[in-house]
Symmetry: C2
Subunit: 168 residues, 2 copies
């Protein structure tokens, strides 16, 4: 596929979200195998003032759909952040992927260097479409998928870099 704004965003987000889904599966299986309640992992965090696993997954979902929505000039679906089980987090990821995959490449046409002002936390940030993707959306999404990975890794779940990469 050519180097388009769609090609360097949607498939990349979907791949990361599928990897995140696989990490959660390994987390739950590990808890069951080790004989503790998998829900313990959902509230685990790496520092007391850092978001727990569930919130990392929710923000990764929000970052992917919100980022793609802005690049495509569409409104993203709103999910209420009520997940409390692994099954619900898998469902959240599946809904996010389904919405992303429904955005056709044509929605991403247009100048990658067009201005894009993004309001976050009440403040306006001047980006171009391209700088928004590479300066915020992509690293932000990997930041939260990595946080999920490291929370699981720190809690003894046998995940490795290939799980994070989503295969090689």
């Amino acid at each position: 596929m050519p180097l388009t704004l769609h090609a360097v965003s949607v498939p990349v987000f979907v791949r990361a979200l599928k990897a995140l889904d696989g990490l959660l599966t390994k987390g739950e299986e590990s808890a069951v195998a080790r004989g503790f309640d998998p829900a313990v992992l959902l509230t685990a965090r790496l520092a007391p003032d850092m978001f727990p696993l569930t919130r990392q997954v929710q923000i990764a979902s929000d970052g992917a759909k919100g980022g793609a929505a802005r690049l495509a000039g569409q409104a993203p679906p709103s999910f209420p952040d009520t997940e409390t089980t692994f099954a619900e987090l898998h469902e959240r990821i599946a809904k996010t992927i389904a919405w992303l995959e429904g955005l056709g490449p044509a929605a991403f046409d247009g100048d990658p260097d067009a201005d894009l002002v993004v309001t976050m936390g009440g403040q306006d940030y001047p980006f171009t479409r391209q700088s928004f993707l590479f300066g915020f959306v992509l690293p932000n999404m990997y930041f939260h998928v990595s946080a999920a990975y490291n929370i699981l890794r720190h809690n003894g779940v046998a995940v490795g870099k290939r799980d994070f990469l989503g295969g090689l």
Copy 2:
């Protein structure tokens, strides 16, 4: 800048490496402020079978220069992985950035979908230039920068997402 293989790789790597550099500075400052030897952080890890901070920085450096080198059809510089201090890690990052910035955009010309077979751990992986960047190099680099971030965060260093993103 247009959406070129250079624009979606080198500046993205440089930004991540500069962010990593800033994270290390905050780590060292935090150790000094809290009255312990900063070198303790260099050997910190999130799990006993996971690489410590120093190695995460070295691999982030290798991933960035190795990835860019393959995309540009050039040989990357070899660094001997002998860093044992924060100062040496900063130097490693600076050398990596200097080499990346010396690769002109023209080196990245050519079809983003050209085949690129990459040998890792003695095994051949068939990529295209584009799939190598987005399916391996970028997530791999963020994986190691995130590991560094989370090691520091877990050890009480006051870093936040903006430090990881390298500003907004």
